[in-house]
Symmetry: C2
Subunit: 511 residues, 2 copies
């Protein structure tokens, strides 16, 4: 599914109705096949540009061919030169948006995941990162098909994995620093991780990686996102620069929190549309951490596979509900203000410019209880029809919710404790967060209930103005809360992105 919605715990309805994600929205401006062609043309241009760009051949890195027997081979099919996005524009106006025009510091096309976005991304990668374009031209550019060819740039104002549609496979992993790791060691780790992530996201195995797990596949829209937990700052002697926003989240009545699967010094979010590409990134980053940090907890999630529906649609969660309709939209005036920490702040938290705070909750769905409800009752708990996501006040999925609408029986069309009513920004002083979740399923519990639900990730400039007030409200009055258990919880400061040559967290660790 493209991103989370008002239909899940902690969800919050945005005020307008167009989805942010390239995978959401029934009014896509074109079919995927058309998008493919556009993407490929853009990719060819990108490949050419790359060969003469600032990071062209002179910077091209030669990877040693260690294989025995047979001649040295050209770069595998994972070079980033091939492109063509699997995503179709989700917003009607995407077709008329100026290509590459910046919106809140991020390319609009990139942000929307439109058909041409991968091409634009490849251009950036080819120009900045060096080897990709050169390799693509030296050999023939390897055409990758839809899913594999999606490329998201690592470098930029914001980290990746926030604005892009959630991928088909996700790994969340928290690390704790080992005893001997100080500020300098943490900086070295973040530098290694950033370098590896940039290579992986461009579809290249990082230097020294001959594991081969992701070979043949394209980058498959891989994103890697890094965050710092509250305890990180104590461990590296930077307590005085810890943001107030990292104060522990309050307890909620639906919480049954397992501390061992919560919090952590460091957090990495990995997403990709191919399972082996995602696993490869997870494993490689774990190996890069050896000696400096060890895994504290790790969770696997999933969303719908690109192409499983006839056209890009908002995804569904494991309760069967369409999930992702009312996320805040980058087109709204206050989007950046609500999601990202602004530039230009002074003081100890200035290093968070361009960053965001991620609230991570493992939310188990009590599916046996939920499935025992009639469809009618389920829909009244949510406030939307299951079949198509339309609000019970009428219309279609994207129709504005009418909280005052009365049904033919004289009662509110959207019941008083319906999830979308309790979560509505109008009822939460405009509080908003960008939800971008993965479903999870880890088998069955001893009582036969599925150990399944949502790896809920909410992004906001300030958790006290996003997740916390909304969850407080849901905790008291939401009819959906009875069917959910929050089993793990964490909060991370996710710094802004870095430029080439830099690394994520540099402004903190060297500031």
């Amino acid at each position: 599914m493209a991103d989370t919605t008002d239909t899940t715990a902690g969800g919050v309805a945005g005020d307008d109705t167009r989805p942010i994600s390239g995978r959401t929205g029934g009014k896509a401006s074109g079919k995927a096949s058309g998008g493919k062609r556009a993407g490929k043309n853009a990719a060819a241009t990108a490949a050419r540009s790359g060969s003469t760009g600032p990071g062209g051949p002179s910077k091209g890195r030669t990877r040693p061919d260690k294989s025995t027997g047979g001649p040295a081979k050209d770069a595998p099919a994972t070079t980033g030169g091939g492109a063509g996005s699997s995503r179709t524009a989700g917003e009607p106006e995407a077709a008329t948006a100026t290509p590459g025009a910046p919106v809140d510091g991020v390319s609009r096309r990139r942000l929307l995941g439109t058909a041409g976005a991968a091409g634009a991304a490849a251009l950036i990668v080819g120009g900045v990162a060096g080897a990709t374009g050169a390799e693509a031209v030296r050999g023939k550019p390897t055409p990758l098909t839809d899913v594999g060819s999606g490329v998201v740039p690592f470098h930029g104002t914001h980290q990746s994995g926030i604005l892009q549609p959630a991928q088909a496979h996700g790994h969340l992993v928290a690390f704790d620093l080992t005893g001997g790791t100080d500020r300098k060691g943490a900086a070295a780790l973040m530098r290694r991780w950033s370098a590896a992530a940039a290579e992986l996201m461009a579809g290249r195995p990082p230097q020294g990686d001959d594991s081969g797990v992701a070979l043949d596949a394209g980058p498959s829209s891989l994103t890697v996102t890094f965050g710092f937990g509250r305890t990180f700052f104590d461990r590296v002697g930077l307590t005085d620069r810890r943001p107030d926003a990292l104060e522990p989240l309050p307890a909620f009545t639906a919480d049954v929190i397992d501390g061992k699967r919560s919090n952590g010094d460091l957090w990495v979010q990995i997403g990709a549309d191919d399972a082996l590409v995602a696993f490869h990134a997870l494993r490689l980053l774990q190996k890069e951490a050896a000696g400096a940090a060890r895994v504290r907890w790790q969770m696997n999630g999933f969303n719908r596979t690109p192409g499983a529906t006839a056209q890009p649609m908002t995804g569904r969660n494991l309760m069967g509900q369409i999930d992702g309709t009312n996320n805040p939209k980058p087109s709204s005036a206050d989007f950046a203000q609500k999601i990202f920490v602004p530039d230009g702040q002074q003081g100890p938290e200035s290093w968070m410019a361009g960053g965001s705070y991620a609230v991570v909750r493992r939310i188990r769905m009590l599916l046996d209880s939920w499935d025992n409800l009639s469809l009618d009752r389920q829909e009244r708990v949510i406030g939307r029809r299951k079949s198509d996501g339309a609000p019970l006040s009428g219309g279609t999925e994207t129709t504005r919710v009418d909280l005052d609408k009365m049904g033919p029986d004289g009662a509110l069309a959207i019941p008083g404790d319906a999830h979308i009513r309790v979560a509505a920004p109008a009822n939460n002083r405009g509080a908003a967060m960008l939800r971008r979740a993965f479903s999870y399923h880890d088998g069955f519990l001893d009582d036969g209930a599925p150990d399944a639900g949502l790896l809920f990730i909410a992004w906001q400039a300030d958790p006290l103005k996003g997740f916390v007030p909304v969850q407080r409200k849901l905790d008291r009055g939401d009819g959906l809360s009875r069917f959910l258990r929050h089993e793990a919880s964490a909060l991370f400061a996710v710094p802004g992105g870095c430029d080439e040559g830099g690394y994520v967290g540099q402004h903190l660790l060297e500031g």
Copy 2:
């Protein structure tokens, strides 16, 4: 990955080199886009045929629309009428094969997963199962994109999930019958399961299912396969009809078997290219079992996402090795004889005609140890190059392995303990099995090692002529065994397929 190979534990090299799977083989006969068009044309034909076929409108089932608010809606986009396979032909000769010509009782095109296969499948489904074609004509057939539109027929000589390429998502689940379930109760369960599987695989929610989890998506090449474990026969009073082939597997030195995750009265294998479609099937079958059987163990696996590579290729496992090259080929004369129980046998095991035996092993890969080997050493352990899967005796992935070839240093090109040498049929009296695996990754163990490896599934007409002798040999002499731990094990009798109106296992339970 398409199916398992000689590069994994218990693997066995077939004698020729062409892959069975539509996803394997670099010599695909056409690009995916071409295949798509062919599939769509075939689907349109199928839809028309379905409306007048033997199972046409008169058998069309009306699903109640329980949704509140809004008019009753047409069938969701999951009707099986739309088609167009995401798979491209893997065998060069597929392009010239007679469409629909039977090979060993199964349509060759269906078996190969060729571009036109989904169309042919839709034709079968439309003609036999009834409602699909009629619905597709009554409304407009909903075009589904590549991944979603893959349809595999439930009914046939063999069960599904054996000959089709392994999907991107897999669930393995074993059930134990509850105390009160006798032969009659087991028969009722198998009838419910078969009916549900037929609907799910056609992309329709079974009657009474309003969970909605798979709505919007197409069937996404869903397959559901049922098997009986050794203990099943005692529970239902049919011990005298238990096949000798279900004798417990011998112990091997690499075994560290967890009994709680092994064996079981009943087994269900679910595969689909979309995670929500697969989860939906798993959950629905669990609910259908309520009162009659409960989950004993359950495992989740994955393979590469369709479209992640530039063209269909043999997949890779989590050791990074290309995995699936040398499976036995349906084009070989003895394929059916080695994989399926023949028709026409007399005696207590006659109910297994058209069936096969599945050996299921959860094989953890000791990735920390493996990754510490140099690439050169890894390749000598396997006997193939990691980059492209070519045997160390030379050539490309599909070049016949030359076990006698000497290297320039005067030593065997393929070392004496290389996996592909020890597993070669020539060294195992021609023993063969069809391997069709999923990778798995369930997080990290306390020591930081990935809990990851292979859900190995091997199919054969007789385990004593397939898995057992090969694994005995590997257990003694295979260099790869040092990097593997078999942590769970099971053996199931998988009956032949059923016709419409029947159910899997009927010949046993009513015979």
